[in-house]
């Protein structure tokens, strides 16, 4: 076999294998580990909710898809399925809150009324009746940040 045929066959093979491995890697890609990720913003639940209420457009482009480290007081703890838990954070305005979904959570150290710091990805906000409260900010893929 001529050398150039051998070389081109080898190149084709390398491209095919790396292409396949790359596709496999993409396919099996994991979700961002928020416990290890560096936050884009460090903020309190009160300020975060207020920014969305004051200007939802500006807050949306600032925070959505970003990793936030949020500190707030726990308003309620709701197990939503066998593993996941929602924690609502107080925003000081009685009806609106910051709702955070944890894929897994150790409940033993979670107490209503206590302060928690968590890291997660901001998904946006929901507002059932446009122009009226409640307006809730949603955080997904949360992990608890240990007290420093």
């Amino acid at each position: 076999m001529k050398l150039y045929i051998k070389i081109s066959l080898f190149v084709v093979l390398v491209v095919a294998v790396s292409g396949f491995l790359y596709a496999l890697m993409l396919y099996n890609q994991k979700h961002t580990d928020t416990a290890k990720a560096k936050p884009d913003f460090v903020i309190t639940s009160t300020v975060l909710q207020k920014e969305f209420e004051d200007n939802e457009k500006a807050a949306s482009s600032k925070y959505i898809n970003k990793i936030l480290e949020v500190t707030g007081n726990i308003l309620s703890v709701t197990p939503v399925d066998s593993a996941k838990t929602n924690i609502s954070l107080n925003t000081g305005n009685n009806v609106s809150s910051v709702i955070c979904t944890f894929p897994v959570l150790d409940h033993s150290k979670i107490k209503i009324g206590e302060e928690i710091t968590l890291r997660g990805e901001c998904s946006g906000f929901t507002q059932l009746f446009p122009g009226e409260p409640p307006l809730d900010v949603l955080i997904n893929n949360c992990s608890k940040v240990p007290k420093r």
Partner: protein, 184 residues
Amino acid sequence: MKRLFLLMFFLNILFAVNAQKYITKNGYIGFYSHTSMEDIKGDNNQVVGALDISTGELVFQALIKSFHFDRALMEEHFNENYMESDKIPKSVFKGKITNLSAVDFSKSGTYDITVEGDLTIHDVTNKISTKGTIEVVSGGINANSKFKIVPEDYKVTIPGVVRDKVDKTVEVTVTMKYTPMTTK
């Protein structure tokens, strides 16, 4: 004194109205579709919903970015290619229980209901009608429903390469646990 009575009177009306309204912020909407390659399943546990037991009116709102998939790549494709969630962040349902008289909200039990209304996904609104149940429990009301939708009805286009592998219909599950709306 007169003012105080007036204030109390209006507060009373406010409470009386709100006593009819039940809400949740931790509602569940999930969808499931079977394909020859693998099953597609998305879960959203951050659905807000309200039920007015005096009129039977129901409203849900789900943020597209709050749907979670086991595979990160699937979640990315769902948001970017299919639902365009940066442009169209929400899906909404507004409807009514059509057989409200069949439900006794004062008595614990499970009641069969029919719900009709407008479902808006991907900025396209379609009328839907589905069966479900209302479960009256102590301290709240649960609502459950399962129905099928066709993504193409909502202009959600599935690219040619994967089209044959994706089932034409998607099964949607709704589970809400409402509590009375309170004004503090």
